[in-house]
Symmetry: C2
Subunit: 167 residues, 2 copies
């Protein structure tokens, strides 16, 4: 017995995106309680050349939906990265989760060995599906979920490891 | 074809710990160049009640080695969390990686369905091996690797996503 690419990806992505949704809700509650400007949290970042909270949520959405799209060939919805409020971020998360819920487990047939090419201006990476998921997509996804969490912790929002782990 | 618990854990843990080792080396070089006190980086944290850099490295070591120990029954070395310098952190990483290299793939036989109980003062969690790895151990591991990276980014150390991804 071993694990399928579906088992390794979709449930983890749904759990992570749902955790982000809950963390955003806690941040909104904290902001309301303390009089913090929500927009300051939306734009908060850990370093001048790191993405702000909004960007971390957008990249968590992208890394997970593009991973599933590449592994299955089921096109993912395109998002414009035009979120401007916490409500927009919640909606982005909801649309991402809806996409995952619509992908059938059968679409992952053969995903382990599927050839996946990543081309950007800086890099050209060739993977088979299994290595792409375990060595690239999952670490990238958890990076952005953790970065969003860490930005809010750094800003004083009372969230904890359980909120990150979710489920 | 699917993925074994071994494939999903040991290579990812070795890659992540090696990435941390390289990130620490870049932090040391940055400190030497800029006259930053290494001890300030060692103790740097993102929130008063979050672990400092040293603690994030220790927890990355623990979450990964305890996961492999629980999944295989191959005892992991115990560490005292008494690291006091960057050299100590490098040594902790090296010892953790040595443990992974000594665990045979065959030891993971049946790990998918192995019952794993986590008992702490706050929580009691029951898993089977596959869910423990994908829903707990991997997210936890990447959390601490990312947190270490984010602490150093926040402190001005010039590391990038490629350093985090490693490999």
């Amino acid at each position: 017995m071993a694990l399928s690419i579906y088992q390794l990806s979709v449930p983890a992505f749904i759990r992570g995106m749902t955790a982000l949704d809950n963390i955003l809700t806690k941040a909104e509650a904290h902001a309301a309680e303390t009089g913090t400007d929500l927009q300051d949290l939306f734009e908060a970042r850990l370093a001048p050349d790191m993405l702000p909270l909004s960007g971390q949520i957008q990249r968590a959405s992208d890394t997970s939906k593009l991973a599933v799209a590449r592994l299955t060939g089921v096109a993912a919805p395109a998002f414009e990265d035009n979120e401007a409020t916490f409500a927009d971020l919640h909606a982005r998360i909801a649309k991402t989760v809806d996409y995952f819920k619509g992908v059938e487990e059968a679409a992952f047939e053969g995903a382990e060995t599927r050839k996946i090419e990543l081309r950007t201006q800086q890099t050209s990476l060739d993977f088979v599906g299994a290595d792409f998921l375990t060595g690239f997509a999952l670490p990238n996804f958890y990076f952005h979920v953790t970065a969003a969490y860490a930005i809010l912790r750094n800003a004083g929002v009372p969230v904890g490891k359980r909120d990150y782990l979710g489920g």
